[in-house]
Amino acid sequence: MTARSSVRRPSTAVFGSRADRPRASRLHAGLLCLSVIGATLPGCSGTIGGPSLGGDAPLPSEDAPPGSLPTAPGGGGAQTKGFKPAAVALRKLTVHQYENTVDDLFGVQLELPELEPDTSINGFFSIGAARATISPSAAEKFESAAFALAEAALDEAHRQKFVGCTPSGTTDAGCTEAFVARFGQRAFRRPLASDEIARYAALASQAQAALGDFHAGLQFAVAGILQSPHFLFRIELGKDQGGGTVAFDDYELATRLSYLLWNTTPDDALLTAASKGELTTPAGLNTQAERLLADPRAKTALDNFHAERLALEEIDLVDKASTVLPAGFDDTLKTAMKDDVLDTIEDFTFGANTDFRDLFTTRVAFVNSPLAELYGLPATSKGRVELPADGPRAGLLGKAVFLSTYAHQDGTSPTKRGKFIRERLLCTAIPAPPPEVSTVLPEPNANAPTMRERLAVHNQVASCAGCHKLMDPLGLSLEHFDAVGRWRKDDKGHALDVTGNVNGSDFEGPLELAELLRDDESAVECVARQLYRYATAHVESSGEEPAVQATIEAFAASGYKFTSLLRAVVASDGFRFGAKE
């Protein structure tokens, strides 16, 4: 491992620095997020309410069984020392992936029935997808979608281009088989075995004969392929490397790469590269990664990662009281809030300033008229704007989508905001609150006019204080932003105290908190861990820690370029190797 001393900033690593952590212990990863505060705040480290409350001890099943390390596989690139791969699981296509995929397969956006939503586990729909299955009602929906797509693709207007051969009659085995082989390869993201071609060709022939129509019959083969587990799930069987390790094959890597960098199915060029065995060489994998990153589809895929990482879709179901937002919290405003974050991140990933840490402090925002107004900018502002350099709003913590999602309908919630910062920006697990404890805060009164005084009750109950000390001080520094993220001078005439202290570091207000986060190793580590989790569809096991550390180091060495982090994850052992379940 490369030494990181040149980039480490121990003096400012307020939220937890890697240097504090035990590196060899099996519990290493389990202790990560408690390194600073756990020692002084046992209430949030599992001693209250039973052992399961720790919340972040590794589940035994997450780790490969103890034993000797696998031997480094030959040919596929050496493994990072000490790396032990984690079990792989089928990944169901997410709704976004399904939609992008069929758009690509059919070359045209066809109307789709509504599919069942994805479930988020451990903060990611991608992780949920590695556990999800297909319920009876989901199977119904996939069937409806498959026939709707097949029918549209084979209508008079599209069939010529889509089928690729002209049938000799109502049945034509040659044309049917050629089509099944070609379409099947795109849909299954690998060449079909001969028995698979025969299976779907026979289906088409049966339907063609029954209906007396070549194209109407072909619909049934298309609909079948689109309902197969080989299409609906991403299947990774890998090649046995001994010692329980499998190396993903060329087509599996093509699929991993494509869904990571484009959030859609591999294109023909990627499948061709796979057919030549190029992706199992580090150079070939890198060449394709560069090609995909240079394509506009990479932006959509990165939007998807950040939307999952920052839980942006949570705002879709958020409502606000009319006292807070008389005009109502409509979808236009919510979309503008989400786009502000995604466009700002795109600006940092592909624009001039690519130090990802500056996301915390940047004055860049993307607005439409209502959002501009909410940010106190002229209503004529549109698109990319620079917020006032001497103003109170900057970076991710100043984004309205975060400030309004993590608030109540009619007021702020420093706890919710603090929880978001801990969970999503610092990768700190916050356990569930203990049972049988009243959670009612005192009503605002002369002695407790603002949230700071009202939240003080959390400090009076030991079983609450441990965790709330992780959350409340962070959120309280943002109290100048109201329930939708508008700046306010005070809280109904009461002065706001936005000072805080984390692990001995004093700060005041959102700008100083943002500075602390910008310079904190936990925050950049968190992004790296999140990308690793997103790419591999599981929370990293302790055996994978060397690969995770390698990506963190590559991120740091690049000056925190997000595209470098992506390359590092693609090159990492965790992306290329798995363990047999």
Binding site: L32, L59, F220, Q227, P229, L237, H408, K580, E581
Partner: protein, 455 residues
Amino acid sequence: MKSRNQIGRRSLLRGMLYGSAVGVGLPTLEMMLNSHGTALADGATIPKRFGVFFWGNGVRLKKWTPSAQGASWQLTEELAPLMNVKDYVSVVSGYNIKTGNQRGHHAGCVGILSGAPMISQDPKGAPYASTFSAPSVDQVVAATIQDKLKFRSLEIGISKSVVTGEGSTLRYLSHNGPDNANPPEYTPSALYSRLFGDGFKEPGQTNVVDPKLALRRSVLSAVKDDATALKRRLGVNDQRRIDQHMESIRALETQILAIESAPPPPSSCMKPAAPSTMTGDKYLTAVNDAMANMAALALACDQTRVFSVMFSGSVGFSNYPEIQAGDHHSLTHNEGGEQPQVNSITIFIMKRFAKLLEILKATPEAQGNLLDHCVILASTDTAEGLPHSINDYPVLVAGKGGGALVHPGIHVRGSGGNTSDILLTLLQAMDLPLKEFGSSGGKTSNTIAALRAQP
């Protein structure tokens, strides 16, 4: 669809669908019943139906639990909406979720719906989540139904303000197993299409079999062949997931076969007027009424015998614009005093549950009504939202269960017993041959005899 007008009840139903209080007056074709009115003339017995009605964030126990026990119980403030169906309702109080309270709402939800502990999904610095460790009771019942019905079970959701980021427990009611849920339909028009769209036949309608139906089954057969070949190459966990996919494909085959064979539906079966596309918290009453109507007709048509209504999700942050209250979860934690808004929300939810029961009761079947043949469990994810406690759990049992449940209903007050006792009692009332139910701390072999009809 000409025959629809012959039945001549469509306008009544339409009135119901848009939220009016018009009762359903479906005539019973008594010539089809035997002299006892318990079986159809062809000898088939009237099937029992099982339902679950679930809401999030508990109740205010002080305003929920009746003071008198046994048959003399009186409606309380929060139970008052059940006045028209009180005879059909029993109240069970004083029982506890015994699976441990690692996480109030999660443990409560999984415990009351499955009798088993939740599976925690919170490794390392990732946000926590959970899922079920066992199937929910609706699926336990559904698994025992031998007849090839169009739907194995029906899942309905009313409020869409469900927590999506903490795993399947908070998001879904009906579970087949871990991370394996049956998501609900939230939009009445979408449920209408599923139940009464293509392939639905009313009594007397001629069944013309579309040749494409057989081809659709051939497609599913090919998909199953793919899945079977794939399964052999996977590890145990993924095999289970493929098994569920195949199970779902088989359910779809059964559905297509049911359309092809189109058995003559029961006499009180009919097609309701198509509901509008309304959905979500703005239309809770209208959506609930439309869904309740369709659920009742799906049962009357014997399209399914198992249903669940997730009125609101565990920890749900539902808004109640009709009574100017919300969001529900935040209120349970932030509202002071006697929590009048939380109280009013519970009353609102009980009104919707009452409506479901009233509609079932107003749907004639044999010499009685549909509710006579139902066993319904109604409960929530925590006893009281404020402290997320799981002791003294609020549970209602509704229906006569085809004569298996006590009638008129009673109030059973336990002293810290296991809520799984209630589940086992209901499953036995559904004639499931179970001697025990639940797992870990939730496991029981006890039932509550008082809830059963006395011989």
